[in-house]
Symmetry: D2
Subunit: 316 residues, 4 copies
Amino acid sequence: MKPEIAKLGHVTLVTKDLEKSLFFFKEIIGLEETEEIDGVHYLRAYSDFQHHTLSVEAGNSGYIKRIGWRTKTRECLQGFKQLLGDHHVTVEEYPQGTTAGIGESIRFKMPSGHTFELYYDVDKPKATNGYASVLKNQVYKSWRKGISPRRFDHVNIHTTTDADKSYDFLMDVLGFNMREYMKGDNGILAGWLSVTSLVHDVALLKKDTLPTPARLHHISYWLDDSQDILRAADILKENGLTFIGPGKHGASQAIYLYVMDPGSGCRVELFSGGYLIFEPDWEPIEWTLEERAACNTYWGDTVQDKELNNSTIEVR
Amino acid sequence: MKPEIAKLGHVTLVTKDLEKSLFFFKEIIGLEETEEIDGVHYLRAYSDFQHHTLSVEAGNSGYIKRIGWRTKTRECLQGFKQLLGDHHVTVEEYPQGTTAGIGESIRFKMPSGHTFELYYDVDKPKATNGYASVLKNQVYKSWRKGISPRRFDHVNIHTTTDADKSYDFLMDVLGFNMREYMKGDNGILAGWLSVTSLVHDVALLKKDTLPTPARLHHISYWLDDSQDILRAADILKENGLTFIGPGKHGASQAIYLYVMDPGSGCRVELFSGGYLIFEPDWEPIEWTLEERAACNTYWGDTVQDKELNNSTIEVR
Amino acid sequence: MKPEIAKLGHVTLVTKDLEKSLFFFKEIIGLEETEEIDGVHYLRAYSDFQHHTLSVEAGNSGYIKRIGWRTKTRECLQGFKQLLGDHHVTVEEYPQGTTAGIGESIRFKMPSGHTFELYYDVDKPKATNGYASVLKNQVYKSWRKGISPRRFDHVNIHTTTDADKSYDFLMDVLGFNMREYMKGDNGILAGWLSVTSLVHDVALLKKDTLPTPARLHHISYWLDDSQDILRAADILKENGLTFIGPGKHGASQAIYLYVMDPGSGCRVELFSGGYLIFEPDWEPIEWTLEERAACNTYWGDTVQDKELNNSTIEVR
Amino acid sequence: MKPEIAKLGHVTLVTKDLEKSLFFFKEIIGLEETEEIDGVHYLRAYSDFQHHTLSVEAGNSGYIKRIGWRTKTRECLQGFKQLLGDHHVTVEEYPQGTTAGIGESIRFKMPSGHTFELYYDVDKPKATNGYASVLKNQVYKSWRKGISPRRFDHVNIHTTTDADKSYDFLMDVLGFNMREYMKGDNGILAGWLSVTSLVHDVALLKKDTLPTPARLHHISYWLDDSQDILRAADILKENGLTFIGPGKHGASQAIYLYVMDPGSGCRVELFSGGYLIFEPDWEPIEWTLEERAACNTYWGDTVQDKELNNSTIEVR
């Protein structure tokens, strides 16, 4: 039986200005800090159920160590170890205790060059400091500070490698479904793929040139209402931050706003709206180069901006 | 390998006043009519991908014929036929062509008394009459008429039978996950269960007395933003309809508004917000009788209202 | 030339639990503190331009000292002194410096028993502590804390006196326009009156019995969007406060939510939507007793609740 | 006593494609048609109280005949006739019956070259065809069709004449208050002025070159909630119309979206949010050339676009 991934788990961020990054993620974006251990700050949104969805620690430059995914069962983790070996992928194993809040895991390089980590076991700590929601089905209080997104949504990554290999790998080995894609003259330029009912848990874009082969364009946190994105714009302006958006994507139909962590250079997409896919035989939506503008920006402040497209951070 | 259900498919409604029901569902709620065949009107929301999520036809009284579910694969349909037989459930088989837009199907009675239908194949017709959205990933134009919900969301059904048998059946045979439940002095009084990432595709409530053992409390359509529920309230008032809400449930955290089709007596819940469950090891949220008010109505116009709870329509 | 009032200015609140009241108004409602002088805390919303719209100070019980109004010119203040004298109203004069942020003023008792204060001069201090908005036309940063209403909107007061005298006084002497009213069997039961384009700067309700003749039912702060009222409901729940709403009034068409300061018993209405009146020959909207429910609550959680109607605080 | 203007009344539009313009204003924007007389279509928003706020009729090109304003009293109309004469302004008098729904009026050319019309008497017809709102304080049903703005808001006009003369005229003769302005190297480049509590009933911009000296940049209709502007964007896209926005102005703080009537070339601004001015001693907000970008677009899709700024229609 094929092993399966349940969901996007977390991203491990290194920043060259820890203070700035913590102010950005905790006070402006409004993430909560589960705990801090040995200088690593474990953060999550108010309704992220697992221990953390973002960790932030100091380093010499801004980059992502790895992108973590939770498997459907503990057996799936073993299944992936086997399956990746069968595909001649080098797999490193890490015992429980390596990363706070995460059990036994495996790590490997995607064909795209990005390090992925898989695990099943997670801690689900309750909120502390009186910050627990009065709702039994929510971790922290709503609207406690900053923009206050509900949950971690997706990652958007770029590669200069032969992206078709990675689209195939994501689908054939890791079990992702292609939901929408943009077709260029020589294959797919951008693919939105998911293991969940979201249009994408990961978007992978093919680029001709990048500072390093494997980059992260943004991580994304989700808000319940489109007006929350307008409120986010107000909050970012009051904090002196520039951003792109608000606008609405054609692909995914989501309302977006992009802002960069001034500490690490890691971009965050604030995200709302969109649609869910429950059809088991979904046929991927194809966007042509002629439809590129509408695919990126159905309406609003455009994401075609050069600065937006050129600034990414390394994923090791 | 266990067969699996992918999603809620459709509900088959009979009404004693077809004209009123069609005005309600098409002009006020704003559903689109895919087609009408032999007096049966096949309706869906602007972004429902399958042929219909609600059919409406004339009859002597208002009731539901059956509740349809789409399986994950064609093999799952055969798997369920086998599995239901193993559980001594009488299964009726229907060939393609029995219901417009739906392929080969099986029907059976739930322990709760409700008729469920399973099928894999569906037609996914495009919008006609110039009503197609300019968006490639959406069927009809947004906001074309009435309240304009995005998609079919869930059903809420009541039973006077031993509900525990049905909770077990839903989980053990049909593969549903219990997401939240209200515990009474003698077992579960209400369970919210899903096969998707939604908190519930079906809610089942245990009642001491009902006009017939198997009833439907409401069908639910989903809107993107909580403000859309306030707009819905304005539209309903302008059409002279009474309703309960807006309010926010504790269970599911969704914003709600309940209004009844004056033709059939079938209640519709307009629904937004809420949360998604991607955790593979979700532990069901338990609400006690003491927490019942908050579970039903976290804030807003209360759903504890007698009229609301007593009016249901039969599911045959 | 008749003297004119420009706008509602401020309300002077005394509380028996200053700490609770300050937490409520500053952290939950999200008002800003301009300054504190001799135990009086001067508060305002993020876009209230004058020194304060609410002052809070400790006392033996919760009550309102007076309700302040700003005149159109300095000459209008003198004009009102004269005009009130002509109407045999006792006027007390207070020099600049009596109340922080407010210049020379006069005070008098309304026929309804409420103390009104009139003044023209106000201080308009800028925000301090780095809290100034980046917008040149706004005082404090948006969304800095709590519910974060934009501005002071209106007061709602009750009286057991012959209310008709007060409606006449408000219109004939103070220059208010009747915008909407509810007609009982013996005259007006509730009147919504304004000097501005708002439907009401003050609502006055006639009551048969009250603990003292002149009471305040609520003060109201305004938010830009109806969704902000839903967000306010979430915030109040997370803070353990009960409230009535959200709902939509028939009169004024505004979206509302009522919550009580646990320190003073002063109720706050959070308010959005509604309409503006620019017509110079507006004919007051008459609501009959039969229309009372719709006038109070067009939809949503009803304001007919006994607790809501019975709890008021004294205006001296 | 100085005569006063109460509010912006209406705009008289001529279009070279009447069918297109009527479809645009009635079906897409969602204005209601009070009546049609001799080929002139009298339109208004669902809560515009006077007979019409926009009239549309066929002609050889798209232009505005005049911009109408309602005075505070009938005496004010006579007062303005006198006052304008005192300022050597040529005044044309028109008897009741000249324009449907409007009484006796006077017309004159602004120094800027735009024709203004003043009148006091207006008809306030009720809604017909079953379209009347169930609300006593509203004319038509909410959300009946299209984008469905609440009311007429303001006009934005351009001139190549010495604009300072017009700013002075608006303030000194017509009684407008300057609320915000952009200062260039040689005087004011843009002024936002009002007689109401709105930040502007009219904006006047100075331009070096225009096809004719007096132009209209846009008329504006107001919506209650910022999310309504996002919904408007969806509706415009589904109708194949391009637009600029959504974004938020610095000046006025309003959320905007600009779309052009394809029949006449008359631009419509859909408008929400913003702030009200009740202070009688408001000091105009000054924006410098350095602040121009923020004044135009605080965030979102920019209004600095060349196409947007260059396309205007004549006001005769």
